[in-house]
């Protein structure tokens, strides 16, 4: 698949909450088709501490205006620097990378689960799925209400539910403790999840037990992002696969979890 490296213009950089930023970037060229679950590898400008690029899921694509959106959570040096990118500055992206989620069928009842910045690809999927809103449930987990990434109202794309560890928004606990998951899980045809490793493993475990189709998006450490370094591997039933090219989305049946 054709890939590119280009300098994008920062047209918006907005704090969503204390640690998450929404960054909108203008492409210098018409954007190729981009699917939920795909990502970009972002060059961090002028940092004495960051050497490699940093991968971020694509959160939204606006083909008309030629813009991409990323949700960046501050974790360390690179994401911090990125969160400070000034409007009008430029940022180098390698894109589009990875294989996205499989498209659910119109009739599928789907559950989309996002944790932390993992909501980015999940919400992109919610927006672009062919499945009508009544068949879609979106379950978003966060530490507390303040950590919730409220970008726009997603209720038009599906019923939206929350869990927070402190109970400050929605159900108290982890996403796997939400009734939708804990009790009604067998009502779904397909589950799509992205979030912290323990969350995805818990989701995968239950889906596997119940025999429900489930895809997760992994965030292994990457050096290149386009399949040449073999650093981002995940052990699978087909051997070590690259998360950057064979993933980041994997069907849980292929993982050795």
């Amino acid at each position: 698949m054709k890939k590119a490296v280009n300098d994008f213009l920062v047209i918006e950089n907005r704090a969503l909450n204390a640690t998450n930023y929404l960054i909108r970037l203008l492409s210098p060229e018409p954007l190729p088709a981009i699917y939920p679950g795909q990502f970009v590898n972002v060059g961090i400008n002028d940092s004495s501490e960051v050497f490699l690029r940093r991968p971020f899921s694509i959160f939204e694509v606006d083909y008309e205006n030629n813009t991409l959106g990323l949700v960046v959570k501050i974790l360390g040096k690179g994401s911090k620097k990125l969160s400070e990118a000034a409007t009008g500055s430029s940022i180098s992206l390698i894109y589009p990378l990875g294989k996205g989620f499989s498209q659910p069928a119109r009739a599928d009842k789907i559950l989309l689960i996002g944790g932390g910045s993992g909501v980015a690809p999940i919400l992109f999927l919610a927006k672009t799925a062919n499945t009508p809103a009544e068949n879609v449930n979106i379950l978003i987990g966060a530490k507390s209400a303040g950590d919730h990434i409220g970008i726009e109202d997603y209720r038009q794309y599906g019923a939206t539910h929350f869990t927070t560890e402190d109970g400050s928004l929605g159900v108290k606990g982890f996403v796997t403790q939400h009734p939708l998951f804990a009790e009604e899980i067998t009502g779904f045809d397909k589950i799509y999840a992205c979030g912290p490793d323990p969350m995805m493993r818990a989701v995968a475990k239950m889906a596997q037990e119940k025999g429900i189709f489930c895809e997760v998006s992994l965030e292994n450490l990457m050096a290149c992002g386009f399949g040449v370094c073999l650093c981002c591997i995940e052990p699978t039933v087909k051997g070590n696969l690259c998360v950057c090219t064979d993933g980041p989305v994997f069907n849980i049946n292929s993982l050795k979890w």
Binding site: M1, K2, K3, A4, V5, G43, E49, V50, F51, L52, R53, S92, I94, N220, L221, M222, A223, C224, G225, F226, G227, V228, C229, L230, C231, C232, I233, E234, P235, G239, N240, T245
Partner: protein, 304 residues
């Protein structure tokens, strides 16, 4: 138009800018970005006789101006390469060079013989310097007798261009270079990665599954440059310079130190276009300094 051609062994290369093994996959991944036939050569991902899963995750750690890797020669083995990958890439119009690895001399020989059969692979790079495998690998490259032995035996079965890739983890790299030259190597390429380590001070664990890994990137450039300079003075065969080359300036430095050609490695991860930009940059440099050909820089290399 200046002349960028260089010669290594009997082989002519369209330009001296090459992609380093393990950083450009099997050429196809780079071909997603541009026409890879513009490169001087492509050194394919390290290949072994049999399938290797490589080391466990995590295999990578960022370091100041560099990175550690512990890939451990993950590849599907010679037969898979020959049957599945080679047919797909063989018509790329630049030299494809196989990076040959083994845990024993016999493995090196057997793999070389298999690769020798492939009409469109005009050269091999004998990797006696991989720091990320338990057996063989770097062990061959850190003493003269073992380096000599593997090169001698491989030379017997291989008539095409034989490039030997040297390890920087040695007291005297020039001595090793002379030793492999003595056994008939057509060229030496250096450096492979430096054995390094990274620790997570808060979690109090190593950052790599293998504890140690190979350091690459700009951090190593000053040491690699010194080694290329020492080796270029010690041997008559052409030297291919590798280590932290990020841009034209770096590439020219290696040529001034005596390298006939250079390989771009880790820089590809930051920008896959780096080798193309360097080809362009060398052309501009030659024009600016009034050289007709790239061999001009090399012949006029630092009189030191």
């Amino acid at each position: 138009m200046v002349d960028l051609k260089v010669k290594i062994g009997n082989l002519e290369f369209k330009n001296p800018v090459m992609a380093a093994s393990g950083t450009c996959g099997f050429a196809e991944e780079l071909a997603d970005f541009y026409d890879v036939s513009e490169l001087g050569a492509i050194f394919l991902k390290g290949t072994t006789l049999r399938n290797r899963a490589g080391n466990d995750y995590p295999r990578m750690a960022e370091t100041p101006s560099g990175m550690l890797n512990a890939v451990g020669l993950q590849n599907k083995g010679a037969d898979y390469f020959i049957e599945t990958i080679y047919p797909r890439i063989k018509d790329i119009d630049t030299h494809l060079i196989v990076n040959v690895n083994g845990s024993t001399i016999d493995e090196y020989i057997e793999l070389t013989e298999k690769i020798n059969e492939l009409g469109k692979i005009p050269a091999i790079e004998l990797n006696i310097s991989c720091p990320n495998v338990k057996e063989g690998g770097m062990a061959f490259g850190i003493s003269c007798p073992s380096a000599e032995a593997v090169v001698r035996e491989v030379r017997k079965v291989y008539d095409k261009t034989l490039i030997v890739k040297l390890s920087p983890n040695v007291t005297d790299i020039a001595e090793i270079a002379r030793a492999v030259e003595g056994q008939g190597a057509d060229s030496v390429s250096l450096v492979n990665t430096f054995l390094g380590m990274a620790i997570d001070s808060e979690k109090r664990t190593p950052l790599l599954s293998t504890i140690t890994g190979g350091l690459s990137g700009p951090a190593i450039k000053p040491i690699a440059l010194r080694m290329v300079w020492q080796v270029a003075r010690a041997v008559k065969i052409p030297v291919i310079g590798i280590g932290g080359i990020m841009n034209t300036q770096d590439a020219i430095e290696f040529m001034l130190a005596g390298a006939t050609a250079i390989q771009v490695g880790t820089a590809i991860f930051k920008d896959p276009f780096t080798p193309l930009k360097i080809i362009q940059g060398i052309q501009e440099y030659l024009n600016r300094h009034g050289f007709d050909s790239v061999s001009g820089i090399i012949i006029n290399k630092l009189q030191m």
